[in-house]
């Protein structure tokens, strides 16, 4: 089960993102926090520290000239 976000954490995240929202927007946004948390849990699998992300930088020929 996702841990519900508290008001202080919610306000901190908005301030950090630099977003100025109306009270109505804040209320609506709170309703979908759990959805984000569920998606974040779903992408976590037991994969260990060595698992690489999909976007790993590699040198192309043109980088070497």
């Amino acid at each position: 089960m996702p841990i519900p976000i508290n008001d202080a954490a919610f306000e901190y995240l908005l301030a950090r993102a630099g977003l100025t929202l109306t009270d109505a927007e804040k209320a609506e946004l709170k309703t979908v926090c759990d959805g984000i948390t569920e998606m974040a849990q779903r992408v976590r699998k037991p994969r260990g520290r060595m698992a690489e992300p999909a976007l790993t930088y590699g040198f192309a020929e043109e980088d070497l000239s």
Partner: protein
């Protein structure tokens, strides 16, 4: 309306034989725009004078030297997130109402070089968000099969415009289904190519690593003709692939006997059950493919919800990144829907994002292994026929997993092909997914299906 609407291939043959004038073709398309677009809203900016001038120039050149290729003199439209030199490119946003680019996007440049006639800029939802939105500078496009219904988004104007015969083809962009979705609900063909095959340069980003540019047209053959003009390496796009381009039309008509098609049954039968009409279209398509000599196999992948979560997290973060500066300074100049999408970025941590990108590698490897002995896989595009435009949920990203996002996550080529008509006479579609850079195979199978079924013979009544 007036005469039958030709496909690109039909028009090109008639133009080459001097049986059809690009000027007359363009005028016929303009006539449809004037008759229908007051209700369909496919265009945000019509370039009528320019279109007629380009058509006259094409006609003169063709009369003198013959057509330069199959797109010479063909009326097209460009989604309004594609930069066009000297023509407004608003991204359907209040933030860009006065934006007139000083150069063309690569895809616009390539289609112009192929001799196309630009009819104008096509409706999207703000910065290619899926929509629908009702608080943007212009209204959302309506579905030509029933104007009470949604076109899907975000290449909504391209879907409506092609289906209604206002243009013969157009550019769509696809971050989680924005080519294939409108193609499916508007009953046309739409191909999201392999990531990197078609340049993104000059096209407003939605999510950098998921964005694709591709053709939308009446059928697979026309998509093949368009893709031939669009594909190719572009140093302006850092993700552009530098590799040989296939001949996309050469393989058409070659039959599909012996090709191997994998069905991802659990996506559309268990993970998210589709409507009876959509399922019937899938079942009938499988029977058609079997009848054409293809081998049908079953494919098992991770649940659709895993793909959806992975793609959605990446999309949310990359979109919020692209538009962070405006979100901080002009948030309330965005429409409500885009604004809410940008807010979501607040709640995804950096670690969440990288875990999603690690999951992306696993999912892509899984698809690669599953397709090792297959030519394409097949699933649904949408769960049902087009919903009423007023019934689309605001938070659809959390509503149900989509069938298209998996192939943005993987970057594999994926195509929507009309597979019949369901409830209310609205189109349904199948999705064909190929291996990376094997668009020719996807198009060949789609073309064989279209030629074996009657669905390309029916246009919306309005057209």
């Amino acid at each position: 309306m007036s005469a039958a609407i030709p496909t690109i291939a039909e028009a090109a043959r008639q133009i080459a034989a001097k049986e059809l004038s690009p000027v007359e073709l363009t005028k016929a398309c303009l006539e449809r725009v004037h008759a229908l677009d007051g209700e369909l809203h496919a265009f945000v900016h019509l370039t009528e004078e320019r279109a007629l001038a380009e058509a006259r120039a094409a006609e003169t050149a063709i009369m003198a030297n013959g057509p330069s290729g199959p797109l010479h003199g063909i009326p097209i439209g460009l989604k309004d997130i594609v930069d066009t030199k000297g023509i407004p490119t608003t991204c359907q946003s209040k933030l860009l109402q006065d934006n007139i680019p000083d150069s063309d996007a690569t895809c616009a440049e390539k289609l112009a070089a192929a001799g196309t006639v630009l009819m104008g800029k096509l409706t999207t939802h703000e910065f290619a968000d899926g929509g629908p939105s009702f608080d943007l500078p212009q209204p959302p496009a309506r579905n030509p099969w029933n104007t009470d219904h949604f076109t899907a988004g975000s290449s909504s104007g391209t879907g409506a415009g092609v289906a209604a015969g206002m243009i013969l083809c157009g550019i769509g962009t696809d971050t989680g289904g924005s080519i294939r979705g409108p193609a499916a609900l508007c009953g046309i063909a739409g191909l999201k190519p392999t990531y990197g095959l078609v340049s993104r340069a000059g096209v407003a980003p939605a999510a950098f690593s998921l964005d694709h540019i591709g053709p939308m047209a009446w059928n697979a053959e026309d998509c093949a003709i368009m893709l031939q003009a669009l594909a190719g390496h572009d140093p302006r796009d850092p993700a552009s692939a530098d590799r040989p381009i296939q001949d996309y039309t050469a393989a058409l008509g070659g039959g599909i006997k012996g090709l191997k098609i994998g069905i991802i049954h659990h996506f559309h039968e268990t993970d998210r059950k589709v409507s009876d009409g959509t399922q019937h279209g899938i079942n009938a398509a499988i029977a058609t493919f079997r009848g054409l000599g293809a081998e049908i196999r079953e494919v098992q992948l991770s649940p659709l919800q895993d793909w959806h979560a992975c793609g959605s997290l990446i999309s949310i973060v990359e979109r919020a990144t692209a538009y962070e500066e405006w979100a901080r300074t002009r948030l309330h100049d965005f429409g409500e829907r885009m604004r809410t999408r940008l807010m979501l970025g607040t709640f995804v941590s950096g670690v969440d994002y990288v875990q999603a990108v690690r999951r992306r590698r696993e999912l892509r490897d899984e698809l690669k292994a599953a397709m090792a002995d297959l030519d394409v896989v097949l699933t649904a595009v949408f769960a049902a026929e087009a919903p009423k435009i007023d019934d689309v949920p605001q938070w659809d990203v959390f509503h149900e997993p989509g069938f298209m996002m998996p192939f943005n996550v993987a970057g594999y080529p994926a195509m929507s092909v009309c597979s019949g008509f369901g409830a209310g006479g609205l189109p349904v579609a199948i999705q064909l997914v190929g291996k990376p850079f094997q668009e020719a195979t996807v198009l060949r199978i789609a073309d064989a299906f279209e030629k074996a079924t009657p669905f390309r013979n029916r246009r919306p009544t309005a057209a």
